[in-house]
């Protein structure tokens, strides 16, 4: 392949969205995001093709490819696959080397990850059993309140008298929200209560792995200012934001790309 430059790729096949990222050495040269289909193998091929086209790079000139996410075993062209836990850790560490606790709030699951100083895993805790504490909880509630998910952050800041949502289960919380609306509670107040409820569940997970600064939120919900506010209050700690220019959804793919580089280095030095 000629020069010392290495091209690595990360392909993150999630349950709702799939992402691919290309780096030349430590510089991101392209990224692609698309919806996941029922066929993870096909989705992987599609998103990988797209990210290569965007970078003007041929697929077979990529030196090392790592698959991650729920469909990682189906990324047939990958050289290896790594758990999304390790990839999120590596990605977050690259963007924010001081990160020690990652809170990943995905569409259908949530996890808390504790990192060592070098970005490797120290501990992790996951919840995929139910919607409480995930993006789906907020989607359901946004639908009931007839607002966009993207508006939830702004609505949170407009709350005057926050409402407390007593249900831990999202299915029951939905009925509770409907009742609140019928009783005349204001939407911003309800939204604030929902964010508080979501972060209660997440905080238990975070405390189990050990809360250490700096705390970073990743995943689709990370840009929701209301969630950030609630988590800050609940944990009693500042949340370090991901740089604005970075879409938090790509952190898994970013981490996979970095780990691809590390594995390549290890292989070459062996």
């Amino acid at each position: 392949m000629g020069s010392d430059s290495m091209i690595t790729a990360g392909v993150d096949i999630g349950s709702t969205a799939s992402k691919a990222l290309l780096m030349r050495d430590l510089e991101v040269i392209s990224l692609a995001i698309g919806p996941s289909s029922v066929n993870p193998a096909k989705t992987a091929e599609t998103v990988f093709r797209e990210v290569c086209e965007k970078a003007g790079v041929k697929g077979d000139s990529v030196d090392f490819i790592i698959g991650t996410g729920y469909g990682r075993a189906k990324v047939s062209f990958a050289d290896d696959n790594v758990s999304e836990v390790s990839c999120h850790a590596a990605g977050a560490h690259f963007l924010l080397p001081e990160a020690k606790t990652i809170v990943d709030i995905g569409g259908q699951d949530c996890k808390a990850v504790a990192l060592e100083a070098d970005g490797t895993l120290k501990n992790f805790a996951m919840n995929e059993k139910c919607a409480a504490g995930t993006g789906r909880f907020l989607e359901m509630m946004a639908r009931v309140l007839d607002v966009g998910v993207e508006d939830l952050g702004a609505l949170d800041s407009q709350s005057v008298t926050p409402v407390s949502i007593s249900n831990v289960c999202s299915v029951f919380a939905e009925s509770e929200v409907i009742n609140l609306v019928n009783d005349g509670a204001r939407v911003p107040d309800i939204v604030r209560g929902l964010h508080d409820s979501l972060t209660n569940r997440i905080a238990v997970l975070v405390n189990r792995v050990g809360l250490r600064e700096a705390v970073v939120i990743t995943g689709g919900v990370a840009k929701n200012r209301g969630v950030i506010r609630a988590l800050k209050e609940k944990l009693g700690i500042e949340i370090t934001p991901i740089p604005d220019s970075v879409d938090p959804q790509i952190i898994g793919a970013l981490g996979a790309t970095l780990l691809a580089r590390r594995k390549l280095e290890q292989r070459n030095s062996a």
Partner: protein, 437 residues
């Protein structure tokens, strides 16, 4: 608000303040003797706790089933026995369980306690972790009524590192089993003396046993009089009898409370007061009470027309008084009481028949129109008997309402849902059977 002139932990202050406010309210309604007495004893408890801290008394932790009477052989000027569940019960009654108890549940789970352990024990541990209790100098626990109590022991021993002794409670209550527990109580006394430097005095124990007996005779009358039909005394405070008995056995407060609630019941009977206006429906609440929302019982009577003449937590027996003639007789009778007279242990620790027989008796003696199995999530031996309980209920021809909830954490099944569950069952099944459609 300060307690005994000093600022304390916020949560205790809030509970204390609530009690004082309620006492003001109830002092105007001089007829409500039970509530009045309840507030007095809980206020005393809080003041006693902080007096103990101020004067550096020895603190001994224990669980719900520890016999208060036994502990009073120690000098209360030197020792405070802290029942770990007391705060969660008090908070449930006068405070906001959705805030306080919920906070301790979360703290315990964040520290790694499994969420399917009974909330009573997660709250006790969580409260300890949140530092709302003074640290213990020693611990004394019984392995009853359930597995979760062993969970509490194993976590508290780890957290507190205080010298601890645990008494094993056997399956039944034969002569040998009573002696076994009696012997273990003696070991407890020796252990606590050795590890705290305090002296145990069997004369003090004798006094406490006399007080227990006096209290128990009053309670026995109250248990009998609550059969009155239609019911005169509301059921809101019914389950609290267990809470008071556990903490105040062998103490004047226990006698006072029993005196007041019995007197109130008699007055109400004499006046012809009614717990339910109009046609009443009678239910046996056979299990953990709704301590997460004690007002639910008022709703039940007011809106649903249902009263609970007797439940598991109020059901004490007069046949188990304490023979004070010797040390051994006192220890063994306290043991027998713990095994056969105490709610939950009596029904749930042993055989299936133990569990079913009281239900049968209560339905009959109190003329129940239906039975309620309050399915507290952590109560695995209650749930584990559900099949047999349904069969028993069928055999008795009595409708059975089974529902899921948590006795201290109101977030599990919200009040609105509980109302719907009860309303539907009572309207659709019980009332048509009782009154015709």
């Amino acid at each position: 608000m300060a307690i005994l002139g000093k600022e304390r932990w916020q949560v205790w202050e809030e509970a204390y303040e609530s009690i004082l406010i309620l006492q003001d309210i109830f002092s105007e309604e001089s007829l409500d003797r039970t509530h009045g007495a309840l507030l007095v004893v809980y206020r005393d408890y809080i003041e006693e706790l902080f007096r103990a801290i101020d004067s550096n008394k020895t603190i001994i932790y224990g669980n719900f089933a520890v016999p208060g009477t036994l502990m009073r052989g120690f000098d209360t000027d030197e020792v405070f026995w802290l029942q770990l569940e007391a705060l969660s019960v008090i908070q449930g009654l006068v405070g906001e369980p959705a805030v306080w108890n919920a906070q301790y549940v979360d703290a315990a789970e964040a520290a790694g306690m499994a969420p399917d352990i009974c909330s009573v024990d997660r709250i006790a541990l969580g409260g300890y972790l949140e530092k709302v209790m003074p640290p213990p100098d020693a611990g004394f626990y019984l392995t009853t009524p359930c597995d979760s109590q062993t969970c509490l022991v194993n976590s508290m021993v780890f957290e507190t590192d205080a010298p601890t002794i645990v008494v094993d409670m056997p399956y039944g209550a034969t002569r040998e089993e009573v002696e076994y527990v009696g012997r273990q109580y003696r070991e407890v006394i020796e252990f606590l003396q050795k590890n705290t430097g305090l002296r145990y005095d069997f004369e003090r124990l004798r006094d406490a046993c006399d007080k227990y007996n006096r209290m128990m005779r009053l309670i026995a009358d109250w248990v009998t009089l609550r059969r009155t039909k239609p019911a005169c005394q509301p059921c809101e405070t019914l389950s609290l009898m267990a809470a008071v008995v556990t903490v105040f056995s062998g103490h004047d407060n226990g006698i006072d409370y029993a005196t007041e609630t019995l007197a109130e019941l008699k007055e109400m009977i004499a006046r012809g007061d009614r717990a339910v206006e109009g046609d009443e429906v009678r239910a046996i609440w056979y299990g953990d009470p709704m301590w997460s929302d004690i007002n639910f019982y008022n709703w039940l009577e007011g809106e649903c027309g249902v009263t609970v003449p007797m439940d598991m937590f109020g059901y004490f027996h007069a046949d188990s008084l304490i023979d004070t003639s010797s040390e051994v007789s006192m220890l063994e009778d306290i043991a027998f009481n713990a095994m056969r007279n105490f709610p939950m242990t009596r029904q749930l620790l042993g055989s299936m028949e133990d569990y079913l027989v009281d239900y049968r008796t209560l339905c009959q003696d109190y003329e129940a129109d239906f039975g309620i199995i309050p399915g507290h999530l952590g109560c695995t031996h209650g749930w584990g008997a559900i099949g047999m309980m349904r069969q028993e209920s069928d055999r008795l021809g009595i409708p059975l309402l089974v529902f899921e909830f948590d006795m201290l954490d109101p977030r599990i099944t919200p009040r609105d849902d509980l109302e719907v569950i009860f309303q539907n069952f009572v309207e659709d099944i019980v009332k048509p059977r009782k009154f015709g459609s």
